[in-house]
Amino acid sequence: MTTALTHRSATAVPPRTGALRRVGQLRQSSPGRLQLIRAALVTLAVLTGLIAGLTAASATAGTSDLRDRAQPLLVEAETIYSALADADTTAAQAFLAGGLEPVRLTERYEADLARATTSLASAARLTPEGSAASRAVEALATGTTRYAALVATARAVNRQGLPVGASYLATASQLNRETLQPEAKALFQLARKEVDSGYSAARSSWWLMLLLTVFVLLTIMLIWSQLYLSRTTNRTFNVPLVAATGLAALLMLTSGFVFSGQRDMLSTADQDGSAPVAALAESRILLLRERADEALTLAARAGNGPHEKDFQATREQLTFDDESLDGFEWNLREIREQHQVYLDLHEKVRELDDGGDYDGAVKLAVGEGATTAFENVLDSVDNLLDDRKHTFDEHIREAGSGLGTLTWLGPLLALAIGVLAVFGLRARLEEYR
């Protein structure tokens, strides 16, 4: 073989040797040509079966990775991010309230921390070891432990009436806002990217293109061989080959149906599920940021400072008009109205504080009215968010159906095509014996 190959490349017009020469010689005789046709049909049928099976398997794997890993990771990342933001807001408000922190706020903080740590544990399971996402989860887990310890110290010291409690809280808040939240945001963005690549893995576009190519080649080969046979023999139809063509058409139709159905469900899951979930999750975090800014401005007691600037910048970003939310105009209008109610109260808080009535500003900010107004917006966003998460679950489940069947049906049908091709050509070959 080696000598044959080097020889071939060394000479311009190669005298064919060995296997190659024998295959070449097959073209010269009629039975040889039939043998070639048979080999080509069987090869293409086997390839088609293999690729149909692999495409279905890849799409199944992609879809279940998206359903069981990427999208849940996005949801966990959102939970971690918003739980941390909410914990910061709550701690700052508890500080503002003065005295022993109100039970309502303590419970809320505890719930936030529990949510964050639970989500961190599940996120750790959902990220492959050594990946950027897994490193972010590790850093967050370490940081959250430190954060919880600082807040616990702040509360213990606060109970003794020592002013250093406020400094512990400031240190904790700084850790939360300057380290943990950016890390959680990075994890959230990584998860978004994984969802995007999850969709392209589930679509398996390269596999599908390959499948289409072998389908076309198989069909051409089937039709061409039948034309060749009817031209060189007396029979117009070769029944097994006609049957093989029918099976190929059936396989093509089934695959087409299953894959287009899957793609349809995927794009619905993306457009009506993942995209609005991501957009709403971001809005939710921005809302929490506003509330924390308000509390931190008052806690710093320095008047209109950097946190209020951040509030205004955050407010600019909070428009609730992401294009993925088209079609939810009714919900969005309600959310915008509720947000405006809260913003108006915030303006009053600022007016009071800037006008010198600090105590009045604190009272208004942590009081029933502002708390209810803020929680109304948050609840409306949460409702829409849950609704969209549900839509995603529904469609992703349907996207997976049918793929499993194709994984075994594809190779089986292709095998039948191959067998029929062998049968169809055996009768013709026997005529030369």
């Binding site: 250093v164 320095a302 105590d359």
Partner: protein
């Protein structure tokens, strides 16, 4: 290497001087590096304790001379005091009531009393230590009373009242520490608030402790309790407030600096500085100063004598 920061300080001071007449809030952060950079040499170009002499007798509360800054304050309906909220005994937030209280706050209440006849007409704004002079210059507060040392570098940016308190820098260490003074802390991390003279002074110590700046002295205590720094060094009165919150901390060594506290007031309102000095003068004489000292810091010594230019 030492010349460059010094030149930067001079340049910044020059900028600050030029813009002093038209306060621009955007200039505020520029003052931060100026006050935090270690000064190459002590500035002895002035007498930091000498302030503006009061003129005549105090006007009756609520009847401030027209055109004066005190009249503006009366119009505003409140005196805006810049201070801190975590300097125990001087100005700290009472965790039970949420009110900021202490010796410095009471000094402010006495000024409000003199202007309005009502000590409650006081709005407290917490000023980041590094921005105290900038806030006064930009008119964000009427005056700053916040354990603030009157020194020549700061006199270039703001005016100070006469000295209302004198203290000096010591060092706070853990009860198990062998250090007996700041000199024994060479190579160790020593914390002070960013923008305080204490931070500059740590850098000047011969044995070269490593200065670590935090936003406030409260956050220094957090760093100390979290073993991030070995010690905290600042005025012994502030350290006493910190040590009172931690039984495992003690204040050691002699005072290695002298810090005369003054109230910072904008250079645009010399009449207000004179007014404040007159109030201080009265309170030294009538025992109010001593009573305030007794209330927060224990048995009062003789009040620091006023010096004028």
């Amino acid at each position: 290497m030492r010349i460059r920061p010094a030149l930067a300080v001079i340049a910044l001071l020059a900028v600050a001087g030029c813009t002093a007449e038209t306060p621009a809030p955007v200039e505020a952060p520029a003052a931060t590096p100026a006050s935090t950079a270690p000064a190459a040499a002590p500035d002895t170009s002035c007498k930091p304790r000498a302030s503006l002499r009061p003129t005549g007798t105090l006007p009756a509360p609520g009847r401030m001379p027209a055109g004066s800054h005190m009249a503006t304050i009366v119009n505003n309906g409140r005196l805006v005091l810049g201070t801190s909220q975590d300097t125990l005994l001087f100005s700290s937030r009472n965790p039970f009531t949420g009110k900021v209280e202490g010796f410095d706050v009471d000094m402010g209440r006495q000024i409000a009393q003199a202007i309005f006849g009502d000590p409650e007409k006081l709005q407290i704004r917490v000023v980041p230590r590094a921005e105290r002079t900038a806030w006064v210059r930009d008119g964000k507060v009427d005056l700053v009373i916040s354990t603030m040392t009157a020194n020549c570098a700061r006199w270039k940016e703001v005016d100070f009242s006469t000295t209302y308190f004198v203290t000096g820098q010591k060092v706070l260490v853990g009860t198990g520490s062998t250090a007996k003074s700041i000199e024994d802390l060479g190579g160790e991390k020593v914390c002070a608030a960013v923008g305080s003279t204490s931070l500059d002074n740590i850098a000047k110590v011969r044995t070269k402790p490593i200065p670590v700046g935090k936003a406030s002295f409260g956050e220094c205590l957090v760093a100390f309790q979290q073993n991030e720094v070995a010690a905290i060094s600042t005025d012994d009165t502030i350290l006493a407030g910190l040590a009172a919150q931690d039984p495992y901390a003690e204040v050691v060594g002699p005072r290695f600096t002298e810090e005369p506290y003054g109230m910072a007031i904008s250079k645009e309102h010399p009449e207000f500085t004179r007014f404040v000095n007159a109030v201080l003068e009265n309170n030294r004489r009538n025992g109010t100063w001593a009573a305030t000292y007794d209330k927060w810091l224990g048995t009062a010594p003789q009040p620091p004598a006023a010096q004028y230019r």
